[in-house]
Symmetry: C2
Subunit: 349 residues, 2 copies
DNA sequence: TTGCGAAAACGAAACGTTTCGTATAGTGCA
DNA sequence: TGCACTATACGAAACGTTTCGTTTTCGCAA
């Protein structure tokens, strides 16, 4: 490949002048700029990112670390980040942790090798110990997306997860349900724990105490939510409603119900958190608590780029976004005419 | 950050020895290896990827260029590629073209800046002219995924798209349909054109000629498929069945049907190409022609890594995978009891 | 003890940039 | 015409590696 030297030779100028033209880092006469640009075009010169990064100590790479890019929720984040990065002249490097701390380490190491200029991370765990481990692996401007980790000084952009859990549960309580199952993630993940807290809060607001045996731990994935659903359904007295705390868990739940031949809201009311892109195609359309993930993704990358540009160290501040209950048809009044005759709330007069 | 020099000093060896240890590129005594490894661990040394790439002329970056990472189909590809890359010590750089040739150029330029060692590309167009443009922008080992571009010497891993189109159409013909709508992509895209060819082939196999006015051009996205569906439904004599050639188009079609209050297969039979992850949650479950995308993704990255490792130039060979018809419930016999009383094929005795 | 060959370790150059101190050309004014 | 100053352009060093020719060390046979 051609180098800046080739450009310089062809344009009849010094290497440093070409550099000045490329980076607009020093005044260059119109005439020279034109000659250099012509030379660049003529020989098809493309700067060597590695060399630039080496010499300047700055790279134009942004790392994005998510649980799983194949999950549409995070894929959407990736696309949003990519868009902003591309127009800012940055390149995105995306990696999935698979919710595994060890793989997370491995991924962060790759990010260090590439000397990314900044990171957007959705960490695998939230406890202080993990935070301490993380901080040793990250030495660049970082934004924590939709996840809080104890003791980390980075900026956080997240949903009010307690409120998200509360909204989902409160809605079911308002429909008369009290035996409400909850499928959560692994304890120790702020997103999961907070949504769980919101669930309890909703009960307390009604002067009630939730039955702890109705809360089932899973992971954030489809399979464990599926299994948890079956476990809940197999109880002597199954819940009349179930809350799931992520989109994939809702999918797992729906598959489990289908297996059992159960249809919401007739046989069971359900409310999820995080919207599903294809939700509106389902019948019944699932009632969910929506989080503004795209907005948060955009805010994250913009904040990160700002930090990088201004060499600001993170302020440790948190930007907390409010979730919103989207009432559709998968939850119904408990006291409505029973099984197969219950009607979705939105159909009520 | 610490450098190889710091490691050398701490281990009391020469820089070149540390390099030899890191890359296992020259014999080093057990004793020295241990000392170097200890030093690396002690000071938390991470090699500078840019410097390595600069000096060695090889990077450990793989570029993946897809139409849209937010599309679950391509997100799945990204995840698969990422997995293989990670275990091979490579880093993946993913970018979306948005099916836009200009953005494609921009993305490829970023890939050149990063000096990726190889590329997996799903190009935006298939004509020879575009091929000529592409070849000038790509100077590294490349695999074309699920797309053929005229005149490009790269290896191709793809589905038998003619067969995919034929399978979908043949199935509907076998159910007695002859007025079969087809929603295709922009002409000039091999994937779309081939599936279109398959559609015609199925007709010809039956000694029939499809009505060209039943074929509607769209893009590969949801919106245009939605609009195309409405256009087809608004004809004086609407088709009795519709074929869509991508997952997102199927989604657009389903939304359009829902808007019109139509339910497959009672009001209209539909068959899509490329499976939807959540298909089994829908009612009726859509009948589709499945392509082995994950398998193809894995083959692509493995082939690419092999080319890079062995410094083989692409052989220009094509690996063509067979699609498979998955019969579910969205298509029914034309002569079955009409509207609202037709039954899905799989329910028939 | 010396000499020899193999094994291990070393040192310096080079990769393509950016950066910064220095040199040159150009301009306006005395 | 000469000078001071500004606007441009230049040149060389340095960034962190790899690579390869050279040197040192080591073990063993003579």
């Amino acid at each position: 490949m051609s180098t800046i030297k080739d450009v310089a030779r062809r344009a009849g100028v010094a290497i440093s002048t070409v550099s000045a033209v490329i980076n607009r880092s020093a005044p260059v006469s119109e005439d020279t700029i034109a000659r250099v640009d012509a030379a660049i075009a003529a020989i098809g010169y493309t700067p060597h990112g590695g060399a630039q990064s080496l010499r300047s100590g700055r790279s134009r790479l942004i790392g994005l670390v998510v649980p799983n890019v194949a999950n549409p929720h995070f894929a959407a984040v990736a696309r949003e980040v990519e868009n902003v990065c591309l127009s800012a002249g940055y390149t995105t490097v995306v990696y999935s942790t698979g919710q595994d701390a060890e793989r997370e380490s491995q991924v962060l190491k790759m990010m260090r090798v590439q000397r990314v200029a900044g990171l957007i991370v959705i960490p695998t765990r939230s406890d202080a110990e993990h935070g301490a481990a993380l901080i040793n692996q990250i030495h660049v401007p970082t934004v924590l997306l939709d996840m809080y980790v104890e003791g980390l000084p980075y900026d956080v952009i997240k949903t009010d997860n307690i409120e998200a859990g509360r909204l989902a549960t409160e809605y079911l309580l308002s429909l008369g349900h009290t035996e409400i199952g909850l499928i959560v993630g692994i304890p120790g993940l702020a997103t999961s724990d907070d949504r769980h807290t919101g669930y309890r809060k909703a009960f307390h607001d009604h002067g009630l105490e939730p039955d702890p045996s109705l809360t089932w731990p899973g992971n954030f994935d489809q399979q464990t939510a599926h299994d948890a659903t079956l476990a809940l359904l197999d109880r002597k007295s199954p819940p009349t409603a179930i809350v799931t705390i992520s989109n994939m868990m809702t999918v797992g739940l729906l598959f489990a119900l289908r297996e059992r031949g159960l249809t919401p809201p007739d046989d069971l009311s359900i409310v999820g958190i995080d919207d599903l892109e294809f939700a509106r195609l389902l019948d019944p359309q699932p009632t969910t608590v929506e989080t503004p993930i795209l907005l948060m993704a955009r805010k994250s990358i913009e904040l990160l780029l700002k930090q990088i540009a201004n060499r600001i160290s993170p302020t440790g501040e948190r930007s907390i976004h409010q979730p919103q209950l989207i009432v559709r048809q998968s939850a119904a009044r408990l006291d409505a005419p029973t099984s197969k005759h219950r009607r979705a709330v939105h159909d009520l007069p």
